[in-house]
């Protein structure tokens, strides 16, 4: 059940993201977002629209160029890495990770922020790891090394790692790339279930717009260097998707909620 008066967990105020220090190269600016507890939000936009950049900035992996990010009302920049690691976890694409790790070892690393300097797992840590493995249906694979996993399985293991970190916010960068339709759908449903059941705030970038239209609570559309956050229905009404892609090759059909190719 969704709590009736959900509160803001992650929000931004006039945020601008991009690259560079001396010569700033702004990718998206004037970002005002508000993510609630227990909601599953997706972020969409064409290639190069700044989805990953914004996600990395929200995760604290990249400095904002301007504006502020607030975590539970407090400025994110005031939190040190260790405190942040208790609040925000991530699932990223294109990272070089050690494929020698077994699924269990990989998921266990999610408990690093909670363990002592030896990294020793307590009974509570082990329970969290187990419930993350159960939630992602990895029980049969848990002793397999990562190099023996399929793309979909590895993606689930990475999500399990983030779950084991047990943070209020989970940020995912295109977790369904390279997956078939069945696995895409199962990952999105899983994320929605986690958001509902564990009252987590989940933000996920994706290119599978049609698929998430019916699954997510809210969407953030990146278009023309700015953002638009709303429910999928409201965004469809506003006609946002008609203009999402440049040119005339692709157009959005409101009635069927699908993109059609002319």
């Amino acid at each position: 059940m969704r709590s009736t008066h959900s509160h803001s967990v992650l929000s931004t105020k006039n945020l601008a993201v991009g690259y560079g220090k001396a010569e700033k190269e702004t990718v998206v600016s004037n970002i005002n977002l508000n993510l609630q507890a227990g909601s599953f939000v997706t972020m969409v936009g064409i290639n190069g629209s700044g989805k990953s950049t914004l996600l990395r900035t929200l995760a604290g992996l990249q400095e904002p160029l301007d504006g502020n990010i607030f975590l539970e009302g407090k400025p994110l920049e005031n939190l040190d890495t260790e405190t942040r690691s208790l609040k925000i976890s991530v699932v990223l694409t294109g990272q070089v990770i050690s494929k020698n790790l077994t699924v269990l070892e990989l998921v266990s690393l999610g408990r690093q922020p909670y363990t002592n300097w030896l990294g020793k797992l307590t009974a509570e840590d082990k329970a969290e790891i187990q419930s993350a493995i159960t939630a992602t249906e990895l029980e049969n694979l848990k002793h397999k090394p990562c190099y023996a996993l399929s793309d979909g399985q590895l993606q689930r293991a990475l999500i399990a790692r983030a779950l084991a970190q047990n943070t209020e916010v989970i940020l995912l960068d295109e977790p369904t790339t390279h997956l078939d339709l069945h696995h895409k759908a199962s990952i999105f449903s899983l994320l929605k279930k986690i958001a509902r059941q564990q009252q987590k705030t989940i933000l996920c970038t994706t290119h599978d717009i049609e698929l998430v239209l019916s699954l997510c609570d809210e969407m953030i559309v990146l278009h023309n260097n700015t953002t638009n956050q709303n429910t999928p229905e409201a965004l469809i009404e506003q006609g946002i998707f008609e203009n999402l892609f440049p040119g005339t090759n692709v157009h959005f059909d409101k009635a069927s909620r699908r993109f059609l190719i002319r």
């Binding site: 990395r56 995760a59 604290g60 992996l61 890495t81 260790e82 942040r84 690691s85 208790l86 925000i88 976890s89 991530v90 990223l92 990272q95 070089v96 990770i97 050690s98 494929k99 020698n100 790790l101 077994t102 070892e105 990989l106 690393l109 999610g110 690093q112 922020p113 363990t115 300097w117 030896l118 990294g119 090394p145 190099y147 790692r161 970190q165």
Partner: protein, 329 residues
């Protein structure tokens, strides 16, 4: 594994160009002075220091290699491959060949600190450059190419220095570059031990962070790891280990690269709380073995240790590559 190290340690002390019965060795170690004086001298002042040097060299380089493979997320990283040993050589070359002009050599060489500082500074400098480049270029090949370039740079600078150096110093440098575990005094061993303990201690102090780094820099950061601090500790630890060891025993190839891979294969582990102690033992084991082979037991000659580690290490890496198709860090 610990037993293996002890056995090889004994075997290493027991074997050499002069035959000494095992019972006599035990008596000497236990402080019995009724044994022939020459034997006592050989054992206490030559063989034991040499065996201990082998032990520290093997384990120190293996630990340095392990940390670099994790830090750079590159299975081919190692003190030798990334040019860290070349950096140390460069430091020593400047010290031995260039130092005389400044009168530094005579001043510092007495206690062996000069070479250590020169070698550590050399490896620190190279490693800093490699880390700086690594954070800019996210490419595994680029790192190795940089290592290669440092190797060439070193030999170029050394040849220039050699051109202007007197024959005597040149010879000293050449002998050093062959690598040797012998000729190490107890006082030098003490200095080496100090560096070794600091280097290994630092490695253990960031073992938890090394585990997080297995997931790459971004994930590690979101797990609460301060990237800058971890990099710095690894930088200091590897430069001290690779620097001090290279200073005393010369550039040793392949131990730092091969041992971590052999250990990963053997233990099928990724956790550094397993890998680190295992590399310490495994490195010691391999080096003691190489040293035994280098002395060609029964013959009065000793081969350069660097040649033996390469003879053993290179085929091992090739074998691992062929068997696994792919090396993973």
């Amino acid at each position: 594994m610990g037993v293996g190290v002890l056995l090889l340690l004994l075997l290493n002390i027991g074997l050499g160009s002069v035959y000494i019965p095992l019972s006599a060795i035990f008596q000497v170690i236990l402080g019995d002075d009724s044994i022939r004086e020459a034997w006592t001298y050989i054992i206490l002042d030559y063989r034991i220091p040499k065996a201990l040097a082998a032990l520290m060299t093997g384990s120190g380089l293996a630990v340095a290699g392990l940390m670099m493979q994790t830090l750079f997320k590159n299975p081919l990283a190692g003190p030798f491959v990334l040019g860290i040993s070349s950096g140390a050589s460069l430091g020593v070359a400047f010290f031995i060949l260039g130092g005389s002009a400044l009168g530094l050599t005579a001043l510092l060489s007495v206690h062996g600190w000069g070479t250590i500082i020169a070698a550590s500074l050399g490896s620190f400098a190279v490693l800093s450059v490699v880390i700086a480049v690594a954070s800019r270029v996210r490419d595994a090949m680029a790192l190795l190419i940089i290592g290669l370039m440092f190797g060439s740079l070193t030999s170029a600078v050394v040849s220039i220095l050699a051109y202007f150096s007197p024959a005597e110093e040149l010879q000293r440098y050449m002998f050093w570059s062959f690598g040797s575990l012998g000729d190490i005094s107890w006082s030098a061993l003490g200095i080496l031990w100090l560096c070794y303990v600091i280097g290994i201690g630092l490695a253990f102090s960031i073992t938890k962070n090394l585990n997080s780094l297995l997931l790459g820099d971004h994930y590690a950061q979101t797990l609460g790891v301060s990237l800058q601090r971890s990099r710095f500790v690894i930088l200091i630890s590897t430069s001290i280990l690779a620097g001090s060891l290279t200073a005393f025993v010369g550039p040793i190839a392949f131990v730092g690269l091969a041992v971590p891979h052999l250990i990963r294969q053997w233990f099928t582990a990724s956790n550094h709380w397993t890998l680190l102690p295992a590399c310490i033992l495994g490195g010691a084991l391999l080096m003691l073995l190489c040293d035994i082979l280098a002395q060609l037991p029964g013959l009065p000659i000793t081969l350069p240790i660097n040649a033996i580690t390469s003879l053993i290490g290179a085929p091992v890496v090739i074998w691992l590559l062929i068997r696994k198709k792919k090396l993973l860090f």
